[in-house]
């Protein structure tokens, strides 16, 4: 029986149909430096065995205030520090440049594409849908250009129906574009979108429903807030319930 299975897997590889195999392929290259993109958060990198997988479409999901943008900014900062170019398709144009600067992002290495999607379009649903399709098209163009270290599409606050109305093949097509490259593609959302079998899905939770996210009086430093998440899908042999927690500090006013 085992021999038959090996023959079957070999036949699938020969016919280039081995993408459907979830365990037959080697899950990482010999050198993790080229197989993964470190997130910049040591505890998370340790859980992910190096970072986000390259050549795959991964997802970062979670509810509002779970730390998605915080982790995203850290990812971008780590990528630019390594000398890579980063492209961010900001579908809802909600990026805070001050947060990027505070995280140490090399801004000249970030290609920022600002979309026109709104949180709730109301009667202008078709316009919003067109804006979402524009954002997808921009993402496709960036992936086709290639050689970006990290490509991110942020649809975290987009209406659910705008994402649901996209053709289901959209994400499959994007996955195929990034396969075999050294690009780490990342979708940031509220719920799983692409469900790529080879990519990684990191779900963030709201660590605490109480507590303030800032130092109490202005100027005093206090350790506040935590971001915690777990890997809910990965091809790598990561325990499915792996949790990673890292601390964050508050956002400071001028």
């Amino acid at each position: 029986m085992a021999l038959a299975r090996a023959d079957l897997e070999s036949l699938l590889r020969t016919r280039h149909l081995d993408r459907t195999l979830t365990t037959a392929q080697p899950v990482r290259a010999a050198d993790p430096e080229y197989a993964t993109a470190p997130t910049g958060v040591d505890r998370l990198d340790a859980c992910l065995d190096g970072g986000l997988p390259r050549g795959q479409l991964s997802e970062l999901i979670g509810p509002r205030t779970s730390g998605r943008m915080t982790l995203l900014v850290q990812l971008i900062a780590a990528a630019t520090r390594r000398g890579e170019l980063v492209a961010l398709v900001d579908a809802l144009d909600m990026l805070d440049v001050a947060s990027l600067a505070a995280a140490g992002v090399a801004l000249d290495r970030l290609l920022w594409i600002r979309g026109h999607v709104v949180v709730h379009a109301g009667p202008c649903r078709d316009l919003n849908q067109r804006a979402m399709e524009q954002a997808i098209r921009a993402l496709s163009l960036v992936l086709q250009a290639g050689n970006f270290g990290l490509v991110v599409m942020d649809v975290a606050e987009a209406p659910h129906d705008a994402i649901r109305r996209l053709p289901f093949t959209t994400w499959l097509r994007l996955q195929r574009m990034v396969e075999g490259s050294q690009t780490s593609a990342l979708l940031v959302g509220t719920a799983p979108i692409a469900r790529s079998p080879a990519g990684l899905t990191l779900k963030l939770d709201v660590a605490s429903r109480a507590g303030v996210c800032l130092p109490a009086p202005m100027g005093s430093a206090s350790h506040v807030g935590q971001v915690q998440g777990r890997v809910i899908r990965a091809r790598a042999p990561v325990p499915s319930d792996t949790r990673a927690t890292f601390a964050t500090q508050g956002h400071v006013h001028v």
Binding site: R64, T65, R68, T70, L71, Q74, T80, R81, R82, G83, E84, D93, M94, L95, D96, V97, A98, A101, A102, A103, A106, L107, D108, L110, L111, W112, I113, R114, V119, G122, Q134, R137, A138, L141, A145, G146, N147, A156, E157, R209, A210, V212, C213, L214, P215, M218, G219, S220, A221, H223, G225, V227, F246, T248, Q249, G250, H251, V252, H253, V254
Partner: protein, 532 residues
Amino acid sequence: MSDRRRPAYACLYVPPGRASDDSCDPAALLEIAQAFSPRYERHHDRLIAIDVTGLERLMRPVARQAQRPQLPVVGPPSRPDRADVFGSGSEFVDVAWRTLGQELLRATIEKQTRAHVAVAGTRVAALVLAHARPGLTVATAGQEASALAAIPLDVLAPVAEAVLRPPSPMTRQASPDHRTGQAEQVGMATFTRWALRTLGDIAALPAAALTARLGRQALAWQAIARGEDVRPLVPSEPEERFEGTLDLEWPIEGLEPLSFVLTRLLEPLSTQLERRDRGAAVLHVLLDLVSREVHARHLQLPSPIRDVRTLRTLALLDIESHPPAGAIDRVTVVIDPTPGRIVQHTLFTRALPTPERLSTLLARLAAVIGSDRVGAPAVMDTYRPGAFAMTPFATEHHPGIHPASAVSQPAPAVWGSDTGAARAGHPSASASGTPIVALRRCRQPVPARVVVEAGRPVRVTSDRRGFSGGAVLAAEGPWRTSGHWWDEASPAAVMAGPWDRDEWEVALTDGARYRVFRDRAANAWFIDGMFD
């Protein structure tokens, strides 16, 4: 008998005159030079040195013609109407050179230029004689020093620039009237103090002593005074135009047929650029329409490009965004060249997108999203909340570790968080290693309804779907910020005008944490963003 291998140089110089009678046609001067020899050095619009070596062999049969009438010399009335000939006795003058000089002078008269013409065995001697003497001046070969001996010193400074340095594209555009270098000025002042008056006085000085007092530059001046060449003539290359035009048999409309036409025009231009080691800096596409209008597009390329496919794609993307008003009769493509880039790849760093690919990507993104919404973010030198700038995304990046990251300093935030952190002693993310909570900002603040008790918000709601709101579990603030009070308020401009607000950070029962603020001028509450 003259040595057939003896070098010979001619110089055409048009001195600057009064504005009313300043007649210098650079194109005419160039045309004269090109008619006599392909090897010429154009220093600027008024000065050209020509290598006429060997032309005397063509001139000698002409020179032997008897009784050839002498040409009148164009110049001050006091000058004799014959060529000045310098040499130790006219019997040693090369008649052929004189005839050549006369032919040059005749050509300048026909072109109506007031050019001085000089012929000598060295380029330097020809340049000096052309600057110093009007009309035609011919120096005997091998006796350049004696020909220059009596010439006053003030000719040395303007000649030095042309003699010592090959012309660059920059200097070729300007006349030398104001270009006396600082070193030459110092040298002239020193020579004047030494009571030197002529080039012969400088030529007679001992070289070692002159160098010890004035430096190595003085050796070059002494060589000029003796009529000795310090560098060879650097031939000027004719300006080459990178242009192609195609007249169409029938008018075309749409991008697809235009694509074929552009490919046909760009391919030979690309080959021409490659042959000259040039790239396109600016691409001009001129479309002659059936309505006799010309639809012109000018693309400033971010880096030198000569790839046909990339140029065609950029042109088509631009024309797609700015379509012509009618059918196209003729297509003209003009390229402004620039020297090509020298690119050395490395094996040890991760590959980045090529400038050509990035240029194409940026053009495509601009066509999809809009050119004002694609670029690199930049912080601004202001305390305005949410202020940022969009800068063009560079197409050339150095591979490897970012230089700013290598120094391990906090992000250079002139505005906002880091500035406040530095003032308050709060550690930045890079210094402490702990990430700072990022804000997801509402580009247009969302109007909110806030219930305030004892000066603190206790409930935040909004009519906008997606911001359900709720009771306030915890609140911190207020932080008062204001600025630009001297500007007029404009409801349409979010990023301009004055602001005066009290900001709060609130955690609500819906699980989210927001930044809200009260606009003190309007006494209205808004949601500025959410922490995520």
